[in-house]
């Protein structure tokens, strides 16, 4: 629990100086992580590893076709399969960090659409019923 939480649990209204002192202390202890930059870097690294893995696997396989020694062939095939594994890992990293960004936007869109729907609903509920108005107006005219 942070100092802020502890202070609020005590139900007291802290003076300004105390509030500022708390901010200074918490700012000093804050570990800044630039997550957007890190996500971008990891996404790029994932894409690079994915492509490089496939390319190296293909090259290793092609090279193995020209070899006569079974040990060379085995080594190259092992390398090719390992590189396919690396490529799959790269694809997973790429998907993880590209999806995280996509899902953030998706969540924002859901929030925005939810708010727009409620606004529409509240707007519709707030409007007087037009048919009732006509009826009231009509009966008023007759009397």
């Amino acid at each position: 629990m942070s100092e802020r939480q502890r202070a609020n649990h005590e139900h007291s209204e802290p003076p300004a100086a105390e509030r500022i002192a708390r901010l200074e202390q918490e700012a000093a202890n804050l570990k800044v992580r630039n997550s957007a930059k890190r996500d971008g870097i990891l996404q790029a690294v994932g894409a690079l590893v994915m492509v490089a893995g496939v390319v190296v696997a293909f090259v290793a396989y092609q090279l193995s076709l020209d070899k006569a020694d079974d040990r060379d062939i085995e080594s190259l095939i092992i390398l090719a399969i390992s590189m396919l594994g690396v490529s799959v890992a790269g694809a997973a990293v790429f998907l993880r960090y590209s999806l995280a960004r996509f899902l953030r936007f998706w969540l924002l869109r859901q929030l925005y659409e939810g708010q727009a729907n409620v606004d529409r609903l509240v707007g519709a509920l707030g409007q007087p019923n037009s048919s009732e108005e006509h009826e009231v107006a009509g009966s008023g005219g007759k009397s």
Binding site: Q5, H11, I20, E26, V32
Partner: protein
Amino acid sequence: MSLVRNGREPADAPLLELVGVRAAYGGIEVLHGVDLAVPRGSVVALLGANGAGKSTTVKVAAGLLPPTTGKVYVAGRDVTGASCHDLARIGVCTIPEGRGVFPNLTVRENLWMATQVSGRLDSLEEGAYARFPLLGERRTQLAGSLSGGEQQMLALSRALVTDPAVLVLDELSMGLAPIVVQQLYDIVAQVAQEGISILVVEQFARAVLGIADRAAIMVNGVVAHAGDPSELQSELSSAYLGENE
């Protein structure tokens, strides 16, 4: 690299400071080197016409948009790139443009969200309803069904129950009647008297200049003028109407 602002004791540093901040949406740069400071216990008004870059400045200050270059300092500590929830947790609380209440939750449930930072709901409610009695009467009403002014009160109360040291308000008056805006700014003035430092971003200058200790005018992504509110009256018309000086 030092995380503390060069040549300045942390005790003297403004609570919130932007230095040479540039920010962009994709390839389009909208802030071209913004310098802005919110000194301790003061109300700073950031004014400017639509599209001047005020809300983008708020996003950078709140950690919602990382600057491309430049630094953001909180109490003299470099927090550039810190996430908005980290800044909110340490005491820099932002009320975004458009109020940011959860429309399909009740007033009480909206306040409940603040318990993640600030403790028990009953004590939070007590504080919030003491300041905004109207919200107490509507505690079970959906936030989306409140009037614009009441939603803004809810957003303010939710921010205040977290006991922030710095409050950043973006376009408090948006879509509200002048009398409601005046009521809200009266509340902001009370909050300022309690020692909370406030950065108010506002398109309608008249509403905020009455409570501001300092003001800055943004034009085309830079702070064109800054100073005492009374000194900036003449600059306002050129900032808003684009007249040449």
